[in-house]
């Protein structure tokens, strides 16, 4: 870099407390040229205030010494994720993710690939020098076949280390990117081409058109162990053979600028427009705490039956908890839920010893019967044989919930039958009106089911009247 000031760069580069006009890059390194091309494009396009550059981990970690724009340092490989968030945070920002080959193509490749696939509005400048620079000359994903580095001392062997990675070509398989190009800064002619591509990538950000990716073949004399002229020649002769330069994709003519955000309600408007809410709970120490357990197979409506009872309790200003316990499988395994109804804040929401137990299958009857409190009630489906000793003071009632619901043509409504039993036997202490309203409210999105369930409740109550009373 010359002594001449570059618009868009700081006048002096302060590091370790000293002011200087020299960069921290080695003689013959490509970073200085690429920094300058990025800066010139930023200034010429009039987007300096809007520009945020992600400084990666690698030799360009100190980009903020030079660039007079917003600077954010990112963890190794994570620049694409960081850039994604910054542009989504400030859609007017022109975000540049400046990354080396280890950062972008090794540790960070998935983030690179995913950001490209989402078509994030970012310009990625990918500096490919075929080697890890700052860490001291280790093999990069882009290291050429046979090339000796600190971690490929016998030369890169594709059979054990894979082949040089063609990032532009991989990204070109994706639909979303607007612009993909590979350029070089090995000589003046190439720098002029690189200038155009970098400018294009920033223009795409200025116009909010989408994802732009520019790979820059860049010399690293220090780690290649060559003088600057020979390194530039290596870039031209060796690297370009593996990584041909040129514009790979350019959809700028057809890419649409991002649409403005649609108007939406505020947080309070969104959450506070529901009229049908239960009141807050009120302390009533005279109310005895009731602990209920509902158990059966998944899919029998056990969990929603528990929610119905809990909702009814809420209507009566009780403190209420509902806690589900699933089997290992989402469907078909055992499911149970605990409901606690109390006049004071509830301690443990897990019900180990229920006052009311509703069982829809044999495993849950076998599991929970012995845990029921004295004075408690067990309602068990008629398909479950009552072949276990009943604890003292516990009442067991059989209800043909499954058979009745099948007979009435709504096999999924066995839980409604159980709700009817809870009401008719009056074991919850809750008003039937509240239990029914909670049941109907659960079908808010399927109004036809409300009428059907009204019939089902009547049938169930009639059966209990005829058989249990």
């Amino acid at each position: 870099m010359t002594e001449k000031k570059t618009l868009g760069m700081y006048d002096s580069f302060i590091r370790s407390g000293k002011e200087t006009r020299a960069t921290h890059y080695c003689a013959g390194c490509g970073h200085g040229i690429i920094h300058k091309l990025v800066t010139e494009a930023m200034v010429e396009l009039g987007i300096q205030d809007r520009t945020v550059i992600i400084n990666p981990i690698g030799c360009s970690v100190f980009g903020y010494y030079y660039w007079d724009c917003g600077n954010v340092g990112a963890a190794h490989g994570r620049a694409a994720a960081v850039a994604t968030a910054i542009n989504r945070a400030h859609k007017n920002a022109c975000v540049i993710s400046y990354q080396g080959d280890g950062d972008l193509a090794a540790i960070g490749f998935n983030h690179t690939f995913q950001a490209a696939n989402r078509g994030e509005h970012i310009a990625v400048i990918f500096v490919n020098n075929a080697i890890y620079g700052m860490t001291g000359g280790q093999m990069a994903p882009t290291t050429l076949e046979g090339m000796k580095t600190k971690t490929s001392p016998f030369g890169r062997d594709p059979l054990t280390c894979g082949y040089p990675m063609h990032v532009c070509e991989v990204l070109n398989q994706l639909k979303a990117p607007v612009y993909i190009a590979r350029v070089s800064v090995a000589d003046t002619k190439r720098i002029m081409q690189a200038r155009q591509s970098i400018r294009k990538a920033l223009e795409i950000q200025r116009d909010a058109k989408g994802y732009a990716f520019v790979e820059v073949i860049s010399p690293c004399p220090t780690n290649l162990g060559l003088d600057p002229i020979k390194t530039a020649q290596f870039c031209i002769d060796q690297m370009e053979k593996e990584y041909p330069v040129g514009v790979i994709r350019d959809l700028t003519a057809t890419a649409e600028p991002r649409k403005p955000d649609a108007a939406t309600p505020t947080c309070r408007e969104y959450f506070e427009n529901d009229e049908s809410q239960a009141p807050a709970a009120e302390v009533d120490p005279s109310a005895k705490e009731l602990r209920l357990k509902f158990a059966g197979f998944g899919g029998q409506g056990i969990l929603s039956l528990g929610i119905c009872v809990a909702e009814a309790a809420r209507m009566e200003k009780r403190f209420t908890t509902w806690y589900p316990s699933y089997g290992p499988e989402q469907r078909g395994g055992s499911a149970s839920c605990s409901v606690v109804i109390s006049g004071t804040p509830v301690g443990s929401p897990a019900v180990d010893h229920p006052d009311v137990l509703v069982c829809m299958n044999q495993p849950s009857y076998e599991r929970f019967l012995s845990e029921v409190n004295p004075g408690g009630t067990v309602i068990v489906d008629s398909t479950v044989p009552l072949n276990l000793p009943v604890p003292d003071g516990v009442k067991v009632v059989q209800m043909p919930a499954i058979d009745l619901s099948i007979k009435l043509g709504v096999p999924k409504a066995a839980n409604t039958m159980m709700l009817a039993a809870l009401m008719k036997l009056n074991v919850t202490g809750l008003k039937n009106e509240n239990l029914l309203n909670a049941l109907y409210a659960s079908f808010k999105k399927k109004p036809a089911l409300v009428e059907k369930n009204k019939e089902l409740v009547k049938e169930a109550e009639q059966w209990i009247e005829d058989n249990l009373k």
Binding site: V72, G73, A85, H90, A93, Y270, P345
Partner: protein, 349 residues
């Protein structure tokens, strides 16, 4: 106004009332309902939701959003929380705020999706590389899943450091009445330090690198000074402790089990009470020491004694050397009231 919601849903409501602009996350049981609710509610009110490609991406998106001055959050469970530690360290190192909700499940490794508290040390002691500590809040109800998520944003911006809401699978899945927050929080002004992509913030820089060792040491000293100030935001709760002979010390869901156990013990003639830290970092050390003074103490936790050891450490720092008993379960087994009562009787025998 009230809603009957899962703890996981209450988290999202709290975040939105706190003004959270951006949610980034990757699905994981038992935290997924947070992502489900966020996916629906964030865009519905003009906020940003993005499903990241992994938890490493999520946390670095938090880093980016925070660097851009936004209120941002993610939610996860153990395996994802481990992946996030790199980014949490970078956020702490760069003085960036953000909220991470960890709905703990059983570990180590894949473990299972049932409740545990085995990520205590990871959350409270830093978790990633370097000398840093996050704010850690421990909700014990659906209401607190909402309220403490809001508080996490407030404290995270007050101290410019990540805040963790440390919940568990049981709290995430349980439903309770949520009273909606009375109002939305006011947005903090971030223009003095964040990078907005505009003229006013053009000179701002977000980084955690200090190449010279003296400068890096100074940075560390500043961080430690900041952490010391967090003491003013300690919070804890007691239940039936005034005349207690035995104090059950527990956080999160265990504090509720302990609450029922204390009532049961009292009915059986043992005067038990509950001390519950609401902030795990900063830890309510003085309040704990005062509460257990002259009493026996037993920790109830869903981990291998991580919390008990920390309780003893805090008591020691407060000048008290005291035996603290342990009643715990692991692996997704939730300690029962019966087990706590039985363990308490042995302590008091």
């Amino acid at each position: 106004m009230t809603k009957f919601v899962k703890g996981n849903e209450a988290v999202v409501i709290g975040a939105l009332y706190a003004g959270c602009d951006m949610y980034f996350g990757y699905p994981i049981t038992p935290a997924s309902e947070i992502a489900h609710a966020a996916a629906k509610w964030f865009p519905s009110i003009g906020r940003e939701f993005l499903q990241a490609e992994c938890e490493t991406a999520s946390i670095n998106m938090l880093y980016g959003a925070a660097a851009a001055g936004k209120l941002t959050m993610t939610a996860t469970s153990g395996p994802g929380f481990s992946l996030m530690q790199e980014g949490v360290s970078y956020m702490a190192g760069a003085n960036l705020p953000g909220v991470i909700v960890n709905v703990m499940r059983a570990g180590p490794g894949l473990g299972n999706v049932y409740p545990e508290q085995g990520d205590y040390n990871q959350a409270v002691k830093g978790g990633g590389h370097g000398n840093y500590q996050c704010i850690v809040l421990a909700p014990a109800s659906v209401q607190e899943m909402c309220d403490l998520t809001m508080r996490a944003f407030t404290l995270s911006f007050k101290y410019l450091t990540p805040a963790i809401v440390l919940a568990d699978g049981l709290q995430g899945q349980m439903m309770e009445t949520l009273v909606l927050p009375e109002k939305e929080l006011e947005r903090p002004d971030t223009a003095s330090w964040a990078v907005h992509g505009d003229a006013a913030t053009r000179k701002n820089l977000i980084t955690s690198i200090f190449l010279d060792a003296p400068a890096q040491e100074n940075h560390n000293l500043n961080l430690q000074e900041k952490y010391r100030h967090m003491g003013e935001d300690v919070d804890s709760d007691t239940y039936l402790c005034d005349d207690a002979e035995l104090v059950l010390v527990a956080y999160g869901i265990c504090s509720r089990i302990a609450r029922t156990a204390a009532e049961t013990l009292r009915a059986q003639g043992i005067k038990a009470g509950v001390f519950r830290p609401i902030t795990l970092h900063p830890f309510p050390q003085d309040a704990l020491a005062k509460t257990v003074e002259g009493r026996k103490a037993m920790v109830v936790e869903l981990s291998a004694g991580q919390f008990r050891d920390d309780v003893m450490l805090h008591l020691a720092k407060a000048g008290r050397f005291q035996e603290v008993s342990l009643c715990n379960r692991m692996g997704g087994m939730v300690v029962s009231v019966d087990e706590v009562v039985a363990a308490a009787k042995i302590v008091m025998a």
